[in-house]
């Protein structure tokens, strides 16, 4: 602590340079925290729901290839399967294409059983089941469009040749998936042309014992292996991951951009710190002459550099946290980043990286400055 004053004063010895460096680091870490949080959001999306005790049966050819309703009963008879629920991706939008969000037709009678992690008032659930054109919506959609129970909404077609006309009967809560809409599978099946009827793109099933997931998956896929509609049964996590993969390797892209940004900040900080260390060669020599050991001088310099990058990082992360508390990213990104925020683990990772940036960027200048002999340092005219 007794050295803190020296560190603090050196930190702001060139106020303009320090402030510019701080601002630069803050801006870069604002983006790093943002990108890492988007990655974290994707990971949460993959991990959403009960995950381990839910399996998804889809066509082994492509997710776009439907499976016949008749599979439901056969899947239900597989030992270890607790219940089965049909789920169809609709892909419609609300009023304008920019108002896109996830919307599904779901087997209204099985939803509660298979998707038990979706919390909804029992009365609202009963109303939903009772209304053929009823739907339930996530809390985030309600906020985004100012909907309330009883509102009539019409979705615009994109994949199927009809515009779903729905009445909001319930609002569900979910830890991650807060921006989706579900309506009756029976309504969907009646609205589509005969050649499409009685087919669905996924069966979601709950299992009694998650440790038997692999065996159940194998048994289901073996059952339909030589049929017209072969299946691929995966865990919910694998399904969500493959769904994410359809967007391209966006995680790799974001991860790479974050790494590049950190690398860039290391280089920029290294330049600033080299200048700072170079200016102080004589002072460092004086400190060593009066008895400061090399290790102590280096510790003081690295502490100073790390404090600078940490302060910049903290400023960037805090700024991002505050901004995303105010800016509704779900709305801004048309539902792409629903529930987006700077997650605590991401913030910690960014802050840890900022300290590391100081140590890496300041390492070489500090070593060079402290390894110079006292005599050479005193002789140096900066």
């Amino acid at each position: 602590m007794k050295y803190f004053k020296l560190i603090r004063r050196n930190l702001f010895r060139n106020r303009l340079r320090s402030m510019m460096t701080l601002a630069l680091i803050a801006v870069i870490f604002f983006f790093v925290a943002t990108l890492l949080s988007i990655l974290e959001l994707f990971n949460r999306f993959e991990d959403q729901g009960q995950g381990t005790n839910r399996l998804v049966v889809q066509s082994s050819i492509s997710l776009a290839n439907p499976l016949p309703y008749a599979y439901e009963q056969k899947i239900r008879e597989v030992p270890g399967v607790a219940d089965v629920c049909k789920l169809q991706w609709i892909g419609a939008y609300y009023k304008e294409k920019k108002n896109f969000f996830a919307n599904f037709a779901v087997d209204q009678d099985r939803m509660e059983s298979v998707f038990a992690d979706y919390r909804i008032d029992p009365k609202q659930m009963a109303d939903f089941k009772a209304d053929r054109q009823g739907c339930i919506v996530g809390t985030d959609l309600v906020k985004r469009y100012g909907w309330k129970i009883g509102d009539r909404i019409t979705l615009k077609r994109q994949i199927f040749p009809y515009d779903p006309e729905l009445t909001i009967r319930g609002i569900y809560e979910h830890p991650v998936n807060t921006a989706a809409l579900y309506y009756h599978m029976s309504y969907h099946n009646e609205a589509i042309p005969p050649m499409m009827k009685d087919h669905v793109n996924t069966f979601w099933l709950s299992v009694k014992d998650p440790s038997k997931n692999a065996a159940i998956s194998q048994q289901i896929d073996a059952m339909f292996k030589n049929s017209e509609f072969p299946t691929e049964t995966v865990t919910e996590k694998q399904f969500q991951a493959s769904f994410m993969a359809m967007m391209g390797n966006i995680k790799l892209l974001f991860g790479s951009i974050s790494t590049c940004a950190v690398f860039m900040v290391i280089l920029l900080a290294a330049i600033t710190m080299s200048m700072s260390a170079r200016e102080r060669v004589t002072e460092i020599a004086v400190l060593k002459a009066i008895g400061f050991e090399k290790g102590l001088v280096m510790t003081l310099m690295l502490t100073e550099f790390s404090l600078l990058t940490f302060a910049g990082g903290a400023l960037g992360v805090l700024g991002a946290k505050l901004i995303y508390m105010v800016v509704p990213m779900g709305k801004v990104t048309q539902g792409f980043l629903v529930g987006f925020q700077i997650f605590p683990m991401t913030a910690l990772l960014a802050l840890g990286s900022s300290i590391l940036v100081g140590l890496i960027a300041g390492g070489l200048p500090a070593i060079n400055a402290t390894k110079m002999s006292v005599v050479d340092g005193l002789r140096r005219v900066v």
Partner: protein
Amino acid sequence: MALVEVKEVHKVYKRDSFEVPVLNGISLSVGEGDFLALMGPSGSGKTTLLNLIAGIDRPTRGTIAVDGREISNFSETALAGWRARHIGFIFQMYNLIPVLNAFENVELPLLLTKLSKKERREHVETALRIVGLADRMKHYPRQLSGGQEQRVAIARAIVTDPSILVADEPTGDLDAKNAAETLDLLQHLNTDFKKTIVMVTHDPKAAGFARRTLHLEKGQIIEDTANGARAQA
């Protein structure tokens, strides 16, 4: 009794593939309470000799003992600790830390000790009082004149009560008045506080404040004279 014993010291600097001999077998003794001036033309080796005595450089050959301890064999860490306890530095360009005020500059060497904050304050105030700058404690180097800066540097040199003060051209950057005041202060420290001082200077007038003057040329002592009547500011 000799406080500093320099025996057959050689110093050779390597510049690329060349070897430049700077000191050629110098031997000398500096007694406790002595005030020694090192004079000589540029390149004569006087600053190198001062650096060796201060423990910030090592001889190529020969030995240097201070207070009976052979310092040329100390490790770098041990030498740093030894300097903190035994040596006070005064530089030509003062070399104060610009971001610290006078008080904080003088306090720097005390940060390496186990003294409490209160004790450090007492020591710093005493040192600044001795150099006549008790009323300039909160001033930063840029707010002080050259002479005042050098006095702060002297306060920093004496605050740990070291055995030896080494001064490299302490008046080289000062006007005549401030130079005289600085030399007077050094003489005062030598006479009244019994500080052993080794000072490098080009200026014969400055050397006149010392008790003894060594003249170096080409890395060898060519003259060792005692100053009978010391100069007065």
